[in-house]
């Protein structure tokens, strides 16, 4: 395994300290370092890459593999003792309904992007204006973003070109304006996806190649994808995925201006006595000892749940929480899954997780006949262990001869196609992250408590689009089709909104440039800032927004000018 400290080990004074090395933190590090700033990145999890700071063309090497057992054994997600969480649907449930690793994201160098299938759609201009475009909705708390699509567009393009995104320009009938085409054409489509695309076409809908941050060509020193079929939930053994580690973080490390400490878990933010500024962060080192780290600026880049928890554990009532909004407006994405079973084997497990998207069910703000939904993704049903567990735990197939027969017949994996509507989740003040009153991690730090209940807003969208998904599946030739029952807590792992940004300190936690209204040298930069979640996978927008926030630190008046040539 790699050293726990890599990059320029001689650096001892830093312009910025970034907590978390996922898409947001890596993007900030990349821009600051390429503009000559000295950056310290603290990552709680391990580093599964070898030679991330080595400029040789055959680096980094990885410890990843097409190994489903490993993925389920704590390689991907932090375990309960490290990241305990509790959950309830509302305060009426009492202190909690259960304890588990709810909505936990991977903790490792590269963050969630290391193990994601990296679907990379852009948001559309309307997604930034839902506060204005939607009528007032009881219980919901929609708001406009303090920036619009046009301001983010150059940063979308920068991320797409530096990380490497495959897609087909003009294929999405609802495509937002683009200043440049996709840097790479699409890779090989799934046969099952092609069947669904044809079924959708018969009904007047359009499936198009999914924009994905996976190489379809050798690109920037990384190879083309070989469609191993083990993508979402797996690290890429050959670095065909443009994950944050091999993209922006590696750029930062190779600049000579970055130092990365892995297995270094920040426990709390330390405030300057009597001042609204941070003095340091306290972290646990790989050997278990504690140390303070300092810098001029501090950037929270864990994820929407952990960012909020960090702020809340650092001071009674939370640092910079005069508005009482820290942790509130937690949004995930609602998820509606239609599955189809085909008589023939459609072998969706042989490719990238998802090769087609559809935006026809994104809807229009304020139109009751076309409520705001989201992107539809087509995908297969993955790998055999998860297949067998799904038969047994979700479809109530008894263990014994029937379970074995279902596996041999490949009912889900080899004959199944899923269409997943990942849709807008109404922000609500009552949906929040706070600290569980009793739950502790191994360091004695309070675990995050999620209070989350769905709003009728997303349930109405599901009621409209669910039957239409089944129409498409049957038109594609499915023998059977049905909607999978969803849980109260959607398992999208798309986390947003707990440190909402905006102009007004009464209705937002952070300023439009990511800085806390009430803490002068503390920034957020990722999904925690999102006032609304949109209906699109968020990783590209998280990366683009973090890139813009870093660029604003360099040049507040003209952040685009801080973008390196690409």
């Amino acid at each position: 395994m790699s050293d726990t400290i890599i990059g320029n080990k001689a650096l001892d004074r830093f312009d910025a300290l970034i907590i978390g090395s996922g898409p947001a933190g890596s993007a900030v590090a990349s821009i600051l370092c390429q503009n000559g700033r000295k950056v310290l990145v603290l990552e709680a999890g391990p580093n599964y890459f070898e030679g991330l700071d080595d400029p040789r063309a055959d680096r980094p090497l990885t410890h990843f593999s097409g190994d489903e057992v490993k993925s389920g054994r704590g390689l991907v997600d932090p375990m309960l003792a490290i990241c305990p969480r509790s959950y309830r649907t509302s305060e009426a449930d009492g202190e909690r309904l259960g304890v588990g690793t709810y909505e936990v994201l991977p903790q490792n160098v590269g963050g969630g992007s290391t193990f994601s299938d990296l679907k990379f759609p852009r948001f559309t201009p309307a997604d930034f204006e839902l506060g204005t475009r939607l009528p007032a909705i009881a219980g919901a708390n929609f708001a406009d973003w303090p920036i619009g699509y046009a301001e983010l567009e150059p940063f979308y393009t920068y991320v797409e070109y530096t990380a490497g995104v495959q897609g087909l320009d003009g294929s999405d009938p609802n495509q937002p304006p683009r200043s440049r085409p996709y840097p790479m054409p699409p890779g090989v489509p799934q046969y099952g996806g092609l069947l669904v695309a044809e079924g959708a076409r018969k009904l007047g809908y359009t499936l198009f190649p999914a924009p994905t941050c996976i190489n379809s060509r050798p690109y920037r020193g990384r190879p083309a994808c070989r469609d191993c079929g083990m993508c979402g939930g797996f690290g890429c053994p050959i670095n065909a995925k443009g994950s944050s580690a091999v993209g922006s973080l590696r750029t930062a490390l190779l600049s000579g201006n970055c130092q990365l400490h892995s297995q270094t878990r920040v426990l709390r933010l330390v405030q300057k006595s009597g001042q609204s500024e941070l003095a340091a962060v306290e972290a646990i080192l790989p050997d278990g000892s504690r140390r303070l780290f300092t810098a001029d600026r501090y950037v929270l880049a864990c994820n929407a749940i952990e960012d909020a928890r960090m702020v809340l554990v650092s001071s009674p009532g939370g640092l910079g929480n005069g508005s009482d909004l820290v942790g509130r407006n937690l949004t995930l994405h609602a998820k509606l899954v239609a599955f189809g079973i085909f008589s023939e084997r459609v072998h969706c497990h042989r490719s990238r997780s998802s090769t087609f998207f559809m935006t026809d069910f994104r809807g229009v703000a304020g139109d009751p006949l076309r409520p705001l939904g989201g992107i539809v993704e087509t995908s297969g049903n993955g790998t055999p262990i998860s297949e067998a567990i799904q038969y047994w735990s979700q479809l109530r197939v008894p263990v014994g001869p029937r379970l074995k027969a279902m596996m041999r017949q490949g009912v889900g994996r080899d004959r199944g196609i899923a269409m997943s509507l990942v849709h807008e989740d109404a922000p609500q003040l009552r949906n929040r992250v706070d600290l569980d009153p009793q739950l502790r991690d191994i360091y004695g730090t309070p675990g995050a408590r999620l209070t989350y209940g769905p709003h009728s807003f997303e349930q109405a969208a599901a009621a409209v689009y669910g039957p239409k998904l089944l129409d498409i599946m049957m038109a594609a030739g499915a023998k059977y089709a049905a909607l999978l029952p969803g849980g109260e807590l959607p398992a999208t792992l798309h986390l947003h909104g707990t440190l909402r940004f905006g102009n007004d300190p009464k209705t937002s936690v952070c300023r439009p440039d990511g800085r806390f209204h009430e803490i002068g040298n503390l920034y957020a930069c990722g999904g925690a800032l999102f006032p609304t979640a949109s209906g699109h996978s968020p990783t590209l927008t998280i990366s683009a927004l973090a890139t813009r926030i870093a660029a604003q630190m360099i040049n507040p008046a003209s952040p685009e000018s801080a973008l390196p040539t690409f």
Binding site: M1, P46, A57, D58, P60, L61, T62, F64, S65, D67, E68, V69, K70, G74, M79, A81, I82, P84, V99, V188, P189, Q190, Y191, S216, P218, R222, P223, C225, D227, C228, G229, M230, P237, I238, A240, G288, I341, E344, H347, R350, P384, I385, I389, W392, L395, V397, V399, G400, R402, K404, A405, M406, M407, R408, Q409, I442, M474, A478, K479, Y480
Partner: protein
């Protein structure tokens, strides 16, 4: 690193086979994309004497677990859970921390099951070293988490962080031992292997819910996971369900810089219909089960 004898001999065998393959291919031009490890050389040397294999289960417990493994995946014309190696998988899991590094997370990036592709995407005769036979060191936090999971609160100084209000953590080792003892008790003290099918069924239905859940999960992982964890013996689990398992470095597709096109494998296509005969068509009982599930979910059925 200490390997159990069977793993050590497996590593020796793999090394010898890999040497043969590398020798056969001679000077053929190979594609090795950025991000892949260099094809390793063969390191001659004397293997250290095998260390004793840590064990946890008694012979009686192994027999009982084998019966339950075969209840989860019964033998028919294909092996059942026990023959696939479920007992060995579970025992390897329960003793994983007795190795250094712990035998929990197999290394990567490749096993030696798939060849390195040639420039046109076709398979070469060269196979990578099997890195799955090595195991990754755990971080301090992972080690502590696994110690709690396997040994429970009693195995960790100070216990679990939330024992005060959630109660002590029951480790997998104790869970397994207690569950097997419960099964023996439910069998009236007779060895489970002596029970007929109906009697095993009766025992299973009366087991503690968490124990039967873990046994089910472990048997599934053993049957369909990578063989380096002790199960999926001779890859029979994968063959039975018609999957290839890990497929890199060859993969299912290959982008040829010579032609500027993606090539798919003719035997295992991605974007086109698979023309091979269906090796295991859906049977009447599967269709009945699907119809039940789809009806319960308010779904649709093609006319």
């Amino acid at each position: 690193m200490t390997l159990p004898p069977e793993a050590a001999s497996e590593q020796q065998r793999l090394t010898r086979r890999q040497f043969v393959r590398l020798t056969v291919v001679g000077g053929a031009t190979l594609v090795w994309a950025a991000g892949c490890q260099d094809p390793p050389g063969v390191e001659p040397g004397v293997e250290p004497p095998p260390a004793p294999v840590p064990t946890f289960l008694t012979a009686e417990e192994r027999q009982a677990l084998a019966v339950l493994a075969d209840y989860v995946l019964p033998p028919d014309d294909q092996p059942g859970g026990a023959a696939l190696g479920a007992v060995e998988y579970v025992e390897a899991l329960l003793t994983a921390l007795e190795y250094d590094p712990p035998r929990l997370l197999a290394d990567g990036p490749f096993s030696d099951r798939n060849p390195i592709p040639l420039p046109d995407g076709s398979p070469s005769n060269v196979y990578p070293e099997n890195s799955f036979v090595r195991f990754l060191p755990l971080t301090r936090e992972q080690l502590l988490s696994w110690r709690l999971l396997l040994y429970g609160s009693a195995g960790v100084p100070g216990g679990g962080p939330n024992d005060g209000f959630l109660g002590p953590v029951l480790g997998f080792r104790d869970l397994c031992r207690q569950g097997l003892a419960e099964a023996q008790k439910l069998a009236g003290g007779r060895p489970l292997a002596k029970l007929d099918g109906g009697e095993v069924d009766d025992v299973w239905r009366k087991l503690r819910r968490d124990f039967d859940s873990f046994v089910t999960q472990w048997v599934i992982e053993a049957a369909f996971g990578a063989p380096e964890y002790g199960g999926n013996r001779d890859r029979a689990g994968w063959k039975m369900i018609h999957v290839e398992g890990d497929v890199l470095p060859q993969g299912y597709s290959f982008y040829s810089e010579q032609t500027g096109r993606y090539e798919e494998r003719p035997d295992l296509p991605i974007s086109t219909k698979d023309l091979r005969p269906d090796p295991d068509p859906m049977d009447a009982e599967t269709i009945l089960h699907l119809e039940f599930v789809v009806a319960a979910l308010g779904g649709r059925k093609a006319p």
